[in-house]
Amino acid sequence: MKTNIIKNILFISALAFLFSCGQAGDRGGNGALSSNIAEKVYVAPGERDEQYAFLSGGYSGNLTVYGLPSGRLFKEIPVFSQFPTSGYGYSEETKPMLNTSFGFIPWDDLHHPDISQTNGELDGRWIFANGNNTPRIARISLTTFETEEIIEVPNSAGNHSSSFITENTEYVVAGTRFSVPVPQKDMPISEYKANFKGALTFIAVDQEHGHMDIKFQLLMPGFNYDLSHPGRGKSHGWFFFSTYNTEEANSLLEVNASQNDKDFIAAINWKKIEEYVNNGGGTKMPAKFAHNVYDESTHTATSTMKNEVLTVNPVDVPGAIYFLPTPKSPHGCDVDPNGEYIIGSGKLSANITVHSFDKMLAAIDAEKFDGDAYGIPILNYDDVLAGSVQSGGLGPLHTEFDGKGNAYTTFFISSEVVKWKLGTWEVVDRKPTYYSVGHLMIPGGNSRKPHGKYLVAMNKITKDRYLPTGPEMEHSAQIYDISGEKMELLYDFPTHGEPHYAAGCDAELLVNNSKKIYRIDENNHPYAIKSPAEARVERDGKEVHIYMSTIRSHFTPDNIEGIKVGDKVYFHITNHEQDFDVPHGFSMIGQRTSEILVMPGQTKTSLWEPERVGVWPFYCTDFCSALHQEMQGYIRVSPANSNIELSYTLDGDDI
């Protein structure tokens, strides 16, 4: 009794404190505090977010890591683009990562990150992402948060219905947006119809190291393949791809690809095709593509060119592929956590179409087909339809789930998120977005077990949401609290590049596995030195290799003479720190490349080709310590015909 009174008094005084008009002060009174919204996104200094959000960078080619609910940016992970911030794609070790059959490409358009799964649940091992322009799939480690592997996808163009994974990460799929001649050849564009092919590529993932290898390519009819998602639970073994341009138009698609009342969702029984392939099925076809792998122990990437790919003609595997008619150029193609519902979002439609997996199987069993397209059976729309959400919105794009029986769909044209119930198809709530939302993300929302607390809407148009920054502005995302019956808009935050899609997970899944340092005793880089005492400079003809050490707050060596104009000078920098978050950087005046940032225990190489005689300085680019500004050195460059001996010192002494 007494304790109750005390509790009540405490409660009252605590609340009195909270409500004693905190918002009267500097906040400009936006009303947020009065409904506790500010508290929901406020992560106090020193505290950490509940969830990770990985947002694609779109045309930045990179992946960004944010915290939820704060919306704070933690890291930009370079994937398909050169990144001077760390030297990715500039250092000798990482240049091979961006190699392709077309040569070195400094950029791509990263669209759809997807976190690896085991038994349909996020397992936090890796995150996969697709390069849209020059078709590639990347695998990023979630212990180092670095890109570890990139595989090019041949016979594909506009690698858009990618990089989604099966529920045990057996495969990561890569579907083509553009159909193209397979193999490529010189032919009239107008002969597209019936001649071009759409390749859907299944890339096997090695469970131990995550290494990727193309298992087979399905050469589908020449439609555009837009998005895809795996079956899960009972529909595990199937993969679903949305298609548009089933008209097979090759020009003015905005009109010509909108003619058919219904396009298709392609249902693909990959287990059946896998079995067919394992039994020797399929046709090997010459195809050039790069496979780039970064080795964490040598801190070095290697690029291998492959020459052959196994292709499968859909009609050769009867019973493996069916078309589900879906209205109006479906974009999103999402599967609910139980694996029963396949949701097609016709992007020009007002309604959302939901197909039933059970009904699909029944229709297949009964062989009830409505004709075929290039030999692939088309199921009857009404036979597979589970229901249709009369949304009242316009332009549905993408659906994710909260694991509590609700689905959330974005509508681009009417600029809103609509919450609806699976099974009854009734709309429960709708909230505007600011403005014109593309995709949305609920952490785990594309798995058997969503963590349905927050929803992130990624908007395409920013306009007046932030202080203006000229004609070009960052895109805007919004966080909604979806823990209640009604969604609640919590927060706006700008995002980098153009997030097309995102994946997220609970913080606990990753925090304990995140690497702090690389162990110097496990550094197998061929040019690494295990201690500063091993630092040296070696000449091999015109090539000079500098084995350099960094530790707070000096380079070893820091005075080098005997370099000549016309030399190729390789700085192999090993960071001998074994202390969390103490990187060192390196940059050389006039060097025609970016700086490099070297993590503790890591070795990175920067190339410099001196062109002018003189004494040229270099310095540490990362504010590493109190004496960072002292962390510098000189290199003497002599004329090409000079006979100055090579020498290197620290504090005037040989090393």
Binding site: I551, Q578, D579, F580, A626, L627
Partner: protein
């Protein structure tokens, strides 16, 4: 007397814990080190609490000109102390067994305790000497030369026991499992002395 002998054996055996557990620990915390750096002082050498702590403490200390932390070969203590511990533990166990058999007077337990106390005090005195030397014998060419408000050079010796603020670091110095076992062992030798004496008095009367 039997019980006293057993307790004496247990007590002196506890010294052997020093070969397994650290005796003492010094921890340095600062805002940029949310996981503090720590040195575990073992009877036969220093060890980082986390793998690279010693290296990182040395890295920080070079700014103020402190010597690097000693390796086992750098200090005679790390070779002598283990021998002393073996000797005292052996001696304690021996007199415990003899006491168990009733062959000696419990006063020997007290003698062991007193010897141990003297050795312990010497050890702590020596430890403090090292701390002071470590914290004050600085490289004259140190990068940072800081002075106290009164103009004397700043000293960086960590506390013998308890907390001390060293620049932006909070230094904590406390006994660890090995040291605690040592203390408990000594306490038990004292207990065995009193128990033994009481047993004697009872049996005599």
């Amino acid at each position: 007397m039997k019980r006293a002998g057993i307790i004496m054996i247990i007590g002196s055996s506890m010294l052997l814990g020093l070969f397994v557990f650290p005796m003492w620990n010094i921890r340095l915390g600062a805002p940029q080190y949310p996981e503090p750096l720590g040195i575990d002082i073992h009877v036969n050498g220093l060890k980082g609490e986390s793998e690279f702590d010693i290296q990182n403490i040395d890295g920080l200390n070079h700014y103020i000109g402190m010597k690097t932390l000693p390796k086992p070969d750098d200090m005679w203590e790390f070779s002598v102390f283990p021998k002393v511990v073996w000797l005292m533990a052996g001696l304690g166990i021996l007199i415990g067994i003899l006491g168990l058999m009733g062959k000696i007077s419990p006063i020997l337990f007290l003698v062991w305790f007193v010897m141990m106390s003297i050795l312990g005090a010497l050890g702590i005195y020596d430890f403090n000497l090292w701390l002071v030397d470590y914290g004050t014998d600085l490289d004259p060419n140190a990068i940072l030369k800081l002075v106290n408000p009164d103009g004397t050079p700043m000293q960086y010796n960590p506390p013998l026991l308890g907390h001390k603020k060293l620049l932006n670091f909070d230094a904590f110095s406390y006994p660890r499992t090995g040291g605690i076992l040592l203390g408990l062992g000594m306490l038990l030798s004292l207990v065995s002395f009193f128990l033994g004496r009481k047993a004697r008095l009872v049996s005599k009367s």
